[in-house]
């Protein structure tokens, strides 16, 4: 998956296939698709769930790159070697797919040499019965690990945030 195309999608460009032509000006989109996926779209569809999943993390990886670049700019720094990320178990993000996607997403940026350090966050709920924040007994069932009462107030586990950068002066 090439990042120029993802960028278009990230900017909310619909009909990405068509607009890709204008942006790159080299290939017709159909030709490009054929080059990228010579076996044709029908094979892709068989594996749709995996492909989709990866693309979702790719969108998120591109947002991370954009976010880090902005944070670097505001600090007048050129480069980060490590990006620290907090990912909740209920964030809907698969961290393996995200690591893979990050490698693709930062290829052309000044972050090309960087890596992601991911801190997983387990789910906790605010338990009304205990009056406390508690871990859940069995993820993803939202019930208090202590008393078993169910709770709809998720305290932690939905995070998807950049928490730090290691920068090289």
């Amino acid at each position: 998956m090439d990042s120029a195309k993802c960028r278009l999608a990230e900017r909310g460009e619909t009909n990405v296939e068509d607009r890709y032509v204008d942006e790159v000006g080299q290939y017709r989109s159909a030709d490009l698709f054929a080059v990228l996926f010579p076996w044709g779209p029908s094979t892709l569809r068989q594996d749709e769930e995996n492909v989709s999943r990866e693309m979702h993390e790719l969108s998120i990886a591109l947002s991370i790159v954009d976010g880090v670049l902005e944070e670097l700019r505001t600090r007048g720094v050129n480069r980060a070697s490590v990006v620290h990320l907090r990912v909740g178990k209920l964030s809907g993000v698969d961290t393996n797919a995200l690591q893979f996607s990050y490698g693709l997403a930062c290829q052309q940026a000044v972050l090309a040499e960087s890596r992601l350090a991911i801190e997983d966050v387990d789910v906790t709920v605010f338990c009304e019965a205990c009056g406390l924040e508690r871990p859940v007994r069995t993820f993803p069932i939202l019930s208090c690990a202590e008393c078993g009462a169910s709770s709809q107030r998720v305290a932690r586990g939905q995070e998807l945030e950049i928490t730090g950068m290691e920068i090289v002066a």
Binding site: K5, G12, G92, S150, I162, A169
Partner: protein, 230 residues
């Protein structure tokens, strides 16, 4: 070269989408539009339900729909038969809608002339869960043919939804679906969520859902027959 220095950052990864969604939500609220999102796996019956909702609610309210798919305008063509304004968002290779796609799709529509906007997401239980579209209400659909443990396998989408709808209940016996267990699983990942059981084939449960939506948004009855194109 000096040693790396660690700087603390506090930044949501999807900050930009969150901001776009918030802006969109505020704009639509000012215009008096209620936005209802539909999410589910492919084939759960989002479009079939929307066909009913657009037709039924469109009689007394000003209703429109956006519908997302990777490719084809088939769903928009299907929904357009209900007679209300419908626009397809084809995402190309992207597996979910985001707030900017919704905003762009609304260009050319005078949203002030709408009461209800339905946004049907790309059929997918994973990716749409992370992206706020500026909805006021998110409805997740799960069909009886998918297995009772779907909510446990994909907790995030259920947890981020406000209403759950079990579809194809007319098939539950044929496919051996334990409805009580399915609903119990939905509520175990999203306690106290309102659950509706419907069949678009037989029409069961649809009226109840429509009454819930109308009550929730306390819509005024308005004259049918309107134009929303500028």
């Amino acid at each position: 070269m000096s040693d790396p220095r660690i700087v603390e950052v506090r930044r949501k990864v999807l900050k930009e989408n969150d901001l776009n969604a918030r802006r969109l939500r505020e704009r639509l609220q000012r215009a008096g539009v209620q936005v209802i999102g539909l999410v589910s796996s492919p084939g759960s019956g989002k479009t079939a339900l929307l066909e009913r909702l657009l037709t039924d609610l469109g009689r007394d309210n000003r209703v429109a729909a956006l519908v997302g798919d990777l490719a084809t305008e088939n769903d928009a063509a299907r929904l357009a038969r209900s007679g209300v304004p419908v626009k397809q968002i084809t995402t190309g290779t992207i597996c979910h809608l985001d707030a900017t796609m919704v905003e762009r799709a609304l260009e050319g529509w005078n949203v002030a002339k709408l009461d209800f906007l339905f946004v049907e997401n790309v059929g997918n239980l994973v990716c749409p869960s992370s992206f706020d579209l500026g909805e006021d209400l998110r409805m997740v659909l799960v069909s009886t043919t998918e297995g009772e443990d779907k909510p446990l396998k994909y907790p995030t989408i259920f947890n981020s939804s406000d209403v759950a709808i079990v579809t194809k209940v007319d098939l539950s016996d044929a496919v051996g679906c334990d409805l009580d267990r399915l609903i119990q699983n939905i509520r175990s990942v999203r306690p106290e969520i309102p659950v509706f059981k419907i069949s678009t084939r037989t029409g069961n449960g649809i009226e109840e859902l429509e009454r819930f939506l109308l009550k929730r948004f306390a819509l005024k009855t308005v004259q049918a027959g309107y134009m929303i194109a500028d």
